[in-house]
């Protein structure tokens, strides 16, 4: 029965399994964000408010945060509040965390998504062209040059690229803004800092995939049909490189999420990443929890989206999954 369902509706089985995995992972992330605060050594409220805070304030805050309840009760309350989009109140600024997040999230999304799009738009054509130019061992000079340049780009982490960019464009050339989110030009340096490594990585993958695909029999068959080069590369080769490219893109997007934390700090970007650093140092736990949920759910969503897109363009992968 199971096997017949699998063969008749591979799509349905795939979706159910994949969504199931998503829900379980999300539950783990939510629980981890709850457990994080309770794993802290000592009294989190005392730590947050400082040694000088009067005992009454600490006691009142403990009461307000529900820390005196039994643990299971606190967990259920946490889930209940989450369902009602109640993320609590910041210990630092005494404002609702949801309000705070609503201001920060758009800035981070703008930065991250712009960087991702730039990365795809640059890396895929570059990788494809280099794969074509170096197929069958052609262009040895180009091959080594590309390896060297991307190797270098991969070994400089995003926050140091950011430092270098600040030095060159803002200090030496005085050409671009170094801090804050003001206009389109304020995106240039942070986005560049975020994409240098991912572009190098993705371009390498696309090039390797292009070279592999160009060695396949069906490309030889397409050449035997005397199709113009444009059709051979775009219609016959490119679609076959997409599945691994997408898988890697998902990983890149996830790592860019971590990259935003550091890059936002270098460029004083008013986003979630900069806030995370601030709230961890200020021991503002409700905010840290909210940021953890944002990043955790974001990464799980990215992975889900990538798997579904791959399944759409490459129907074979649904069979593998189920």
């Amino acid at each position: 029965m199971r096997s017949s369902l699998r063969t008749r509706h591979p799509w349905l089985v795939f979706l159910i399994r994949r969504l199931g995995r998503f829900v379980v992972s999300l539950a783990v992330v939510v629980t981890a964000s709850f457990a994080m605060v309770h794993a802290l050594p000592g009294d989190p409220v005392r730590a947050a408010l400082g040694l000088m805070a009067p005992p009454e304030t600490v006691a009142a805050t403990r009461e307000r945060l529900g820390l005196n309840e039994p643990l299971w009760r606190q967990y259920l309350d946490y889930l209940w509040n989450l369902l009602h989009l109640d993320l609590g109140t910041s210990l630092d600024t005494q404002t609702p965390v949801l309000e705070k997040m609503a201001q920060l999230v758009p800035a981070t999304l703008q930065l991250g998504l712009t960087a991702f799009v730039v990365c795809l738009v640059v890396a895929i054509p570059v990788g494809l062209l280099l794969g074509i130019a170096t197929r069958d061992g052609r262009g040895r000079g180009l091959h080594f040059g590309f390896g060297g340049v991307t190797g270098l780009a991969l070994s400089v982490p995003d926050y140091l690229v950011a430092v270098g960019l600040v030095f060159v464009f803002a200090v030496s050339l005085k050409a671009l803004p170094v801090a804050g989110l003001s206009g389109p030009e304020s995106f240039v340096l942070p986005v560049t800092a975020l994409v240098v490594g991912p572009v190098a990585y993705l371009a390498r993958i696309v090039r390797a995939e292009t070279q592999r695909v160009l060695g396949e029999d069906y490309i030889r068959a397409a050449r035997a049909k005397r199709l113009p080069a444009r059709l051979i590369y775009l219609r016959h080769a490119l679609p076959n490189t997409l599945t691994p490219t997408l898988t890697v893109s998902g990983m890149i997007l996830a790592s860019m999420v971590a990259g935003t934390v550091l890059v936002e700090n270098v460029f004083a970007w008013p986003g979630v990443g900069a806030e995370l650093v601030h709230s961890v140092l200020a021991k503002d736990y409700p905010v840290v929890q909210a940021v953890a949920l944002f990043f955790g759910a974001g990464i799980l969503l990215i992975n889900l989206a990538v798997d579904i897109v791959i399944a759409v363009i490459d129907p074979r992968s649904t069979i593998k999954e189920s």
Binding site: V28, V156, P157, V163, R226, R235, A254, V280, L300, R316
Partner: protein, 627 residues
């Protein structure tokens, strides 16, 4: 690992750079705090955040301390923290990763699922949250990074270990009831250590970058201690007054990170022994032969004329030619077989005949005419159109010669769209028609399917149909049935024969199997070591003049073969094309060979019958039957 190989890799430019960098780093880490420790904490009065000067080459920091001295002294703490991270991370990863091998299947699966979830999150992000639990400071940062780093190492351990765990010697140990932990320490760990060591080495670089990042945002090393990340945090706000204070630690982080990544790469080469065999390429400025003058018009029914084809390929010491002086003529409606062992050059010949020789191989011929047109005298566009419409290829492996991401009908239709400028709908209609011509049932539905849904025989028929989209005068079929079942083979060969008969197309049928050729072709070319050694009609196969052709025929078993005796085979192996003997290439395997055969190469010449042979001592049918 051989010692000489290690030395070879260490003396390569990569090896020298890596070793020098690592030695410099370690030396600085050991010596610098001792030499410059005082200078690094000494406060130079009156020169806060000063730019470079003679006394302070990289200027001073916010408290007026020498940046250069601090950068050098910080090497020790930065490296120690990175090594600690990897050490703790590897230890945790090793334990978590080998646990599923030791535990039962179900518990193991849960661990693996957990690891897969953890690996989805970037390590640095995990570390940022863990830093809150462990508290800010060097110890908290090291612990958070190590724990964040453990899952990916655990997964690497698990994948390598489960490969080993399924190996025969581990199964044998299990059968012998060796305790589980003993299996782990005796059999599993020693066999997975190589990839893990390589990975751990390059991870030191990654750990260095991450721990510096933590220090930079204030989660890591706290003053008065300082590592490079901390120095960057202090220097960055002053980048306008003294850029060196931010740039010096940044450059050190990059260089040190790079050194460990290179070390990992070097270890991979030394342990894995990647050998970069350097090939000598055939020159594209090959002294190309001029196409022969076209004054002798070929007979009207000749579709392929190839004279003295040579294919050159790259070799380790020099380029060599696996195909030499191959000539052939095919007339309309004729099926010609090209037979030879693998490596005899028949596939290279087929590709060259179809003008599909690909880089870095180079093909050259005196004459190469398709339907009377000398290809090298044509403009590229006309040539592509001529080849696209009158030449069809059928490849060996139908499973891989159709594009998996395009519908079968699309792959057929595009031929007509490209070469005959047919509209999409007309081209599609023709594709469906051609699919039905190769006896594919329900062609309209089949055309809409992807190759995945086709069986092997159907795919090969679809490839043939692809060739039929235009009006092929020549079909080059390179081992078209080798990858197919016996019953399907017959079907495909029958289809090729029928097409040749109905459309009057010539077929060049390449096969290693002389029986296939004997059943389907009218004429046979036998190739040995890159040359045609005999050409004869199929009817004359039994009286072939060349000892090699005779041996090929003798190796076909038939109903009358005495099954109690071993099958006839040809002793020895064909020579490699880069190392041919001066005389006849078959001489070392030939019972009739004498000194002349070994010294002088026989040319292809009239064998007296209907064919031609390249042999000093051809088997003469009359004499043989008398003997």
């Amino acid at each position: 690992m051989s010692r000489s190989r290690a030395r070879h890799h260490l003396s390569s430019p990569l090896g020298v750079v890596t070793v020098v960098l690592l030695l410099l780093l370690v030396a600085t880490a050991v010596v610098a705090p001792w030499l410059f420790g005082d200078r690094a904490t000494q406060i130079a009065g009156g020169s806060l955040q000063a730019g470079p000067s003679a006394a302070h080459p990289f200027g001073t920091d916010a408290l007026g301390r020498d940046v250069l001295a601090r950068t050098l002294v910080a090497t020790r703490l930065s490296l120690v923290l990175a090594v600690l991270v990897v050490g703790i991370g590897v230890a945790c990863g090793l334990i978590i990763g080998t646990v599923p091998v030791v535990l039962g299947r179900r518990a193991g699966r849960a661990v693996v699922a957990g690891l897969n979830l953890m690996v989805a999150f970037p390590g640095l992000l995990l570390a940022l949250f863990l830093a809150m639990i462990f508290g800010v400071g060097a110890r908290g940062a090291v612990l958070s990074m190590a724990i964040a780093f453990a899952p990916s190492f655990a997964r690497l351990t698990h994948t390598t270990a489960s490969g080993v765990a399924n190996a025969d010697y581990v199964s044998a140990a299990r059968l012998l009831r060796v305790p589980r932990w003993r299996i782990l320490t005796r059999h599993v760990v020693p066999n997975i250590s190589e990839p893990l060591v390589v990975n751990a080495t390059s991870q030191v670089g990654a750990a260095l970058l991450s721990i510096s990042a933590l220090s930079y945002i204030g989660f890591g090393v706290q003053p008065p201690q300082y590592d490079w990340g901390r120095m960057l945090a202090d220097g960055l706000p002053a980048i306008y007054t003294n850029p060196a204070a931010a740039l010096a630690p940044s450059i050190m982080i990059v260089v040190a990170g790079l050194a460990f990544v290179l070390a990992g790469e070097l270890l991979t080469q030394v342990l894995g022994g990647s050998q970069h065999g350097h090939l000598r390429m055939p020159s594209l400025r090959f002294p190309r032969r001029e196409p022969a003058p076209a004054e002798t018009p070929p007979p009207g029914d000749e579709v392929l004329q190839l004279e003295r084809l040579t294919v050159t390929v790259p070799g380790e010491t020099a380029p060599f030619a696996p195909v030499v002086d191959v000539s052939m003529r095919l007339r309309r409606g004729e099926i010609v077989g090209l037979v030879g062992e693998s490596g005899s050059g028949k596939s290279l010949t087929a590709m060259a005949a179809a003008q599909l020789t690909s880089y870095p191989n180079v093909a050259d011929a005196d004459v190469h005419r398709i339907k009377g047109n000398e290809l090298r005298r044509m403009r590229p566009r006309d040539r592509e159109r001529l080849l696209g419409t009158s030449l069809a290829m059928v490849f060996q492996d139908p499973m891989s010669s159709l594009n998996p991401t395009l519908k079968v009908g699309r792959q057929l239709a595009e031929v007509a769209e490209t070469h005959e400028r047919l509209g999409r709908r007309d081209a599609w209609r023709r594709a469906v028609d051609r699919l039905s011509a190769v006896l594919i049932t329900d062609p309209e539905a089949r055309a809409k399917q992807y190759p995945m849904a086709f069986s092997g025989g159907m795919r090969q028929r679809a490839s043939i149909a692809m060739g039929l989209m235009a009006q092929p005068a020549l079909i080059v079929a390179d081992e078209p049935t080798t990858a197919l079942d016996v019953t399907v083979q017959k079907e495909v060969l029958g289809l090729l024969r029928r097409i040749s008969r109905e459309t009057d197309a010539a077929v060049l049928l390449i096969s290693h199997d002389i029986a296939v050729v004997a059943e389907n072709a009218s004429r046979v070319l036998v190739m040995y070591a890159g040359r045609v050694v005999e050409e004869l009609p199929v009817s004359g196969l039994a009286e072939a003049a060349h000892p090699y052709t005779r041996a090929l025929i003798a190796s076909i078993p038939d109903m009358s073969t005495d099954r109690s005796r071993p099958l006839a085979n040809i002793p020895g192996r064909p020579p490699h094309a880069s190392d041919l003997p001066p005389g006849c290439a078959f001489a070392p395997r030939c019972a009739r060979a004498d000194d002349r055969c070994r010294q002088e190469r026989p040319e292809l010449s009239d064998s007296g019958g209907a064919g031609a042979v390249a042999c000093w001592h051809p088997l003469l049918p009359v004499l043989e039957s008398e003997a």
